[in-house]
C-alpha cells in the first residue's frame, strides 16, 4: 500500500489542548469536533482505502471564522486539510494526523443567480447539481458534470478541476469558473479572476484550479451559466472490436465534429451495466460508443446524419439514434450507472483516471489486458472517448489478504503505462495521496521543485494539505523512480534513503 504520510509530512509539533482551546474561542462546541467518535466520519473521503483521524475537525459557519481558524493554525503551525463534500477519489481530503480538518459543508448557499448576465455566485459547499437546478427555470445550466455531481461540491470541483462527460465541447471546471475569493494561510483575502473576460496580473484563477487545497481556502466562486441547447440528440453505436470503435472516434473528430459527449464502454462494462439497468445495450458487442450532439435543430440534424454515416463506414455493427427523451435517458443510464453496476459484480473495485493521446488506445487496452492477466485481477473499462480520459476499474476483494495491495500495484502500472505513451496519471480525479508516487514517474525533480516553490509562494510554512499532490524528492528517491539526468541525481545535498 502507498505509504500514507511520511515522517517529513508529519514534522509539526502540535499541542492538541492548546489548539482546542484557541479554536474554542472562535467556534461553538457543536462546530468543533474533538472526540474520537465525532472525528470518525471524517477519517476518509471517497477513496475509503485510506483512513487517518485528524486531531480535530471544524465546521465553521462564517467566512470570518474561516479567517480566524487559519490565523490560529498559521500561528500554532498546525496543518489544515480543507474538505468539501468528501467525494474525492484520490484521498485529496484525507485528514492529516497532526492537523485540523476544515469542513466547508455549511457554506452551502447560492449567493446570487443572475440569469441576465448568466453568472452565479455560490459558496464552496454548494453541490454541483444544485447550481444547474437553480438555473434551470431560466433555461440555463452549469456545464461541468462530474459523475458525482449529485453530491460533490463546487469548492471541491475547483480544487480538483473536475471534468465530466461533456468536457470535450464545454471544458473543465477551469473553463467555467470566472472568479473566486481565496483566503491564504496568512489570512489575506485575494480576489481571483473577475466578472470581465480576463483579469490583470498573473492568471491565479487558473493556478488555483486543480491545486487540491494546497494554496488557500476558497470562500466563494462565480461560475458562468450556459443556455440549454434547444435540441439534443443521443446515439448508440456498437462494434465487435474496441480498436474499430477508437478509429471511429478519430474519424468523427477528423470530420470536424465535436460531440457534446462521446463515451466508450468495453464488453465487460456493457454486460455489467445492462444487467443492472437494462438500458437495451447490445451485450454481444465488444465496445459501444454513446454520442451526444447538441445545438440548434439544423446543426444537430446535420451532425447526427454525418456521424451515423461515419460510424457505419468505420465498422459499427449497429447505430441507433434515440427516438425520444426516454430513449436518450436509457442510452445514458447504462453509462452513468457503470460504476455501481460494476459494484454489483465485484466486492470492491478500484477506479483509475489516466489520460492518453487517443491514438494509443488500442495499445493501452492490449497492455492493460496483459497486466490484468499477470495480476489475476479483472479490469473493466469505461472511457471518456472524446478526450482520451480512461477509467479502468480493477475488480478485487478487499477481504482477501493482499488483494488491495496487488490492486494498487496494478493501478500504478496502468498509470505508468499512460505516462509512457505521452499521457498523464490523472485526468480529473486529482493526485491526492493516491497517485503521489506516480507523480515521480511523470515529473523529473526540477519540475517537482518548481511545484514546491510555487506552493511556498502561497504557503511558506507548508501548512495546507501537507504530504499530498506533489511528492517530496525524498519520497521519489525512495519510490525508486527519480529521473536521473546525465548520470547525476539533481540536488545531491538532499539526503536519500
Amino acid at each position: 500500500m502507498v505509504q500514507i504520510y511520511r515522517d517529513e509530512d508529519c514534522r509539526f509539533d502540535v499541542e492538541r489542548e492548546r489548539l482546542i482551546q484557541r479554536l474554542g474561542e472562535v467556534l461553538a462546541t457543536d462546530d468543533l469536533l474533538v472526540e474520537h467518535e465525532q472525528l470518525r466520519p471524517y477519517e476518509c473521503d471517497g477513496l475509503s482505502g485510506y483512513r487517518v483521524l485528524p486531531k480535530v475537525a471544524v465546521i465553521p459557519h462564517t467566512v470570518d471564522q474561516v479567517h480566524q481558524i487559519l490565523a490560529i493554525c498559521h500561528d500554532l503551525e498546525v496543518p489544515v486539510v480543507t474538505r468539501g463534500a468528501g467525494t474525492s477519489l484520490s484521498a485529496g481530503s484525507l485528514p492529516h494526523p497532526q492537523g485540523v480538518l476544515l469542513s466547508m459543508a455549511r457554506f452551502n448557499r447560492i449567493l446570487e443567480l443572475d440569469p441576465e448576465r448568466r453568472l452565479a455566485k455560490v459558496e464552496p459547499g454548494v453541490r454541483n447539481l444544485a447550481v444547474s437546478e437553480a438555473a434551470a427555470p431560466h433555461g440555463l445550466y452549469y456545464a461541468p458534470d462530474p459523475s458525482s455531481q449529485i453530491a460533490c461540491s463546487i469548492g471541491g470541483n475547483v480544487a480538483e478541476n473536475a471534468g465530466g462527460v461533456h468536457c470535450l465541447k464545454y471544458g473543465l471546471t477551469v473553463h467555467n469558473v470566472v472568479a473566486a475569493t481565496l483566503i491564504t494561510i496568512d489570512g489575506e483575502t485575494i480576489t481571483l479572476g473577475g466578472e470581465s473576460l480576463d483579469a490583470p496580473g498573473l492568471d491565479l484563477l487558473a493556478a488555483i484550479h486543480g491545486s487540491e487545497g494546497m494554496l488557500g481556502v476558497i470562500t466563494d466562486i462565480t461560475v458562468k451559466l450556459l443556455p440549454h441547447p434547444p435540441v439534443r440528440s443521443v446515439l448508440l453505436a456498437s462494434f465487435n472490436d474496441v480498436e474499430r470503435a477508437g478509429t471511429a472516434v478519430a474519424a468523427i473528430i477528423a470530420a470536424g465534429i465535436i460531440p457534446a459527449g462521446l463515451e466508450m464502454m468495453d464488453g465487460p462494462a456493457i454486460q455489467a451495466a445492462e444487467d443492472f439497468v437494462h438500458a437495451g445495450y447490445p451485450t454481444d458487442a465488444e465496445a459501444i460508443l454513446i454520442g451526444e450532439f447538441d445545438g440548434n435543430a439544423g446543426e444537430v440534424a446535420d451532425q447526427v446524419e454525418e456521424v451515423s454515416t461515419l460510424l457505419e463506414r468505420h465498422g459499427a455493427i449497429e447505430v441507433r439514434v434515440a427516438r425520444d427523451d426516454a430513449e436518450k435517458a436509457r442510452f445514458w443510464a447504462g453509462r452513468k450507472a457503470a460504476f455501481p453496476a460494476v459494484g454489483r459484480i465485484s466486492p470492491d473495485y478500484y477506479c483509475m483516471d489516466g489520460t492518453i493521446p487517443r491514438k494509443h488506445l488500442a495499445h493501452v487496452l492490449q497492455r492493460m489486458r496483459e497486466l490484468s492477466g499477470e495480476y489475476g485481477l479483472p479490469v473493466v473499462n469505461v472511457f471518456h472517448a472524446g478526450d482520451g480520459n480512461l477509467h479502468p476499474l480493477v475488480l478485487y476483494d478487499g477481504n482477501v489478504p493482499g488483494e488491495f495491495e496487488r490492486t494498487e500495484e496494478l493501478g500504478g502500472r496502468i498509470l505508468e503505462l499512460c505516462v509512457e505513451v505521452g499521457g498523464t496519471v490523472t485526468g480529473e480525479h486529482g493526485v491526492g495521496m493516491e497517485k503521489i508516487n506516480q507523480m515521480c514517474v511523470q515529473f523529473p525533480a526540477a519540475e517537482i521543485e518548481q511545484f514546491h516553490a510555487l506552493k511556498a509562494a502561497f504557503d511558506p510554512k507548508g501548512l495546507l494539505n501537507p504530504g499530498k499532490a506533489i511528492p517530496t524528492l525524498n519520497r521519489c528517491a525512495e519510490f525508486g523512480a527519480m529521473h536521473v539526468h546525465h548520470g547525476q541525481l539533481p540536488h545531491p545535498e538532499i539526503p536519500r534513503f
Binding site: R117, G139, G163, C167, L168, V174, E188, I190, E195, S196, L197, D198, P200, G201, L202, D203, L204, A206, A207, H209, S211, M214, L215, P227, V231, A251, I253, A254, A255, G256, I257, G295, N296, A297, G298, D302, T355, I356, P357, K359, H384, D387, N389, G422, T424, T426, G427, E428, H429, M439, Q442, F443, A446, E447, Q450, F451, L454, A457, P460, A469
Partner: protein, 357 residues
C-alpha cells in the same frame, strides 16, 4: 512531423549565463507586440530562431510548436486539416507574430466570449525559468490535473516567469460555414439581441459595435448558420474575413488613425463602458471597449474599476508607470512571491508587467 530549428540549448545557456551575471533579459519573438506592457528593459533574448511545429495530429486536436514558430505558419498547417486556434490570437504586424508571443501576452481575438481565451486552449508548455532550468508542465492531453497548472499560469505572464520554449494547444475544427451580418442598432440593444440569439442556439462567434452599427458573425454547420441568419435579419457584409482580421490585428481605421493612446477596457457582461473623453468601439459583445482617450491613467483606472472591470494602456502613452490596472496589496504581494519562485534574480522581462516584478 518535426521541422524547423531546435535552439533550446542555446536559450538555456543564455538564460543560465544571464542568471549568473544577474543580467536582465528582454524576451523577444517576432517583436510584433513590442509596444505592449511597460517599457522593455534588458538584453534582447531572441526566441524567433527556435521554431517549428513539433507535432500535430488533427484527430487528436493537439498541436505542439516551438515558441518562435510564426502564427502564420501554424495557421497554414491547421488550415490544411480544416482546423484553427479558436481563440484567434492577434498578429498585430504582418507575419512576424510568434506562438510564444501570443501565449506570453495571452491575448485573444473576437471569438473569445464564445469559444474561450488563449489560456483555455493551452494544454502544456516548456519553460526556461530564471534559474536556467528547462521545465515541462501540462502535456498533450485534454484533461490533466497532475501538478499545479503552471501552463495556464504562464499564459499571459508576459515572460515574468521565464522563457517559453514550446507550447501545446488544443485546436478545433473550423466551422463549415460562416456569415456576417450588420444591423443598424444602438450598441446596448444590439448586444442584447446577440445574447438572445445565442441563447436560442445561434452559433455566434463574434459581435462588435463600431458606434454606428452592430457586426455579428455566425460560424457552425450550414444548417445552424442559416437558422441563425433567419432569426437575426440585417445586411450581409462582404469580405467579412478582412473585417474581423482587421479588428483582431488593429488595422481598421479606428486603430490606424493618428490620435490619442489606445486603452483596452475589459468589462463584466452587460455593463456600459465608463464615461471617458475620446472615441471608442466595442468588441466581445460589449465586454471589451477599445478607447482612444487623452484621459490620464489614474482616471481611466478609477473609472473602469467603478464599472467592475479593468483597464490596460494598450498602445501609446507613457509606458514607465502602470499600464495594467494596479493590483490590490495582497495580490501584489503574492505576485512578488510567485515571481521569486520562478525567477529569483529578476532577470526575465523584469518590470514588463508591473514595476518591481
Amino acid at each position: 512531423m518535426t521541422s524547423g530549428t531546435d535552439r533550446s540549448n542555446e536559450l538555456i545557456a543564455a538564460v543560465s549565463t544571464a542568471a549568473e551575471a544577474g543580467t536582465a533579459l528582454c524576451i523577444r519573438g517576432g517583436a510584433s507586440k513590442a509596444f505592449y506592457g511597460r517599457s522593455p528593459t534588458g538584453e534582447p533574448l531572441d526566441v524567433a530562431g527556435h521554431r517549428g511545429i513539433v507535432s500535430y495530429e488533427p484527430t487528436e486536436l493537439v498541436l505542439t510548436a516551438r515558441a518562435g514558430t510564426r502564427l502564420r505558419a501554424i495557421e497554414a498547417e491547421l488550415r490544411k486539416a480544416d482546423q484553427m486556434m479558436p481563440f484567434e490570437p492577434p498578429h498585430f504586424s504582418g507575419g512576424r507574430a510568434t506562438l510564444g508571443g501570443a501565449i506570453a501576452t495571452g491575448l485573444s481575438g473576437p471569438a473569445r466570449p464564445w469559444t474561450g481565451s488563449a489560456r483555455d486552449f493551452v494544454l502544456g508548455i516548456r519553460l526556461i525559468n530564471g534559474r536556467g532550468e528547462h521545465l515541462r508542465f501540462g502535456g498533450e492531453v485534454m484533461k490533466n490535473v497532475a501538478g499545479y497548472d503552471i501552463a495556464r499560469l504562464a499564459t499571459g505572464s508576459l515572460g515574468m516567469l521565464g522563457v517559453l520554449t514550446e507550447i501545446s494547444l488544443k485546436v478545433l475544427p473550423r466551422p463549415a460555414a460562416t456569415a456576417t451580418r450588420t444591423l443598424e442598432l444602438p450598441a446596448e440593444q444590439g448586444f442584447a439581441q446577440v445574447e438572445e440569439a445565442y441563447c436560442a442556439g445561434a452559433p455566434v462567434t463574434a459581435a462588435m459595435h463600431d458606434g454606428e452599427r452592430l457586426y455579428i458573425r455566425l460560424g457552425g454547420t450550414q444548417g445552424a448558420v442559416d437558422a441563425g441568419l433567419e432569426r437575426l435579419g440585417g445586411d450581409h457584409l462582404g469580405d467579412a474575413d478582412a473585417f474581423w482580421t482587421g479588428l483582431r490585428d488593429h488595422t481598421l481605421p479606428f486603430f490606424l488613425a493618428a490620435g490619442p493612446p489606445l486603452w483596452r477596457i475589459s468589462l463584466p457582461p452587460q455593463t456600459p463602458p465608463p464615461r471617458l473623453p475620446g472615441t471608442r468601439i466595442l468588441d466581445w459583445n460589449g465586454q471589451t471597449a477599445w478607447h482612444r482617450t487623452e484621459a490620464d491613467a489614474a482616471s481611466v483606472f478609477a473609472a473602469t474599476a467603478e464599472c467592475g472591470g479593468h483597464a490596460t494602456l494598450f498602445r501609446g502613452g507613457p509606458r514607465d508607470a502602470n499600464v495594467f490596472q494596479p493590483l490590490p496589496h495582497a495580490n501584489r504581494r503574492l505576485h512578488e512571491h510567485i515571481k521569486a519562485a520562478f525567477d529569483p534574480g529578476h532577470i526575465c522581462n523584469p518590470g514588463r508587467m508591473y514595476e518591481g516584478l
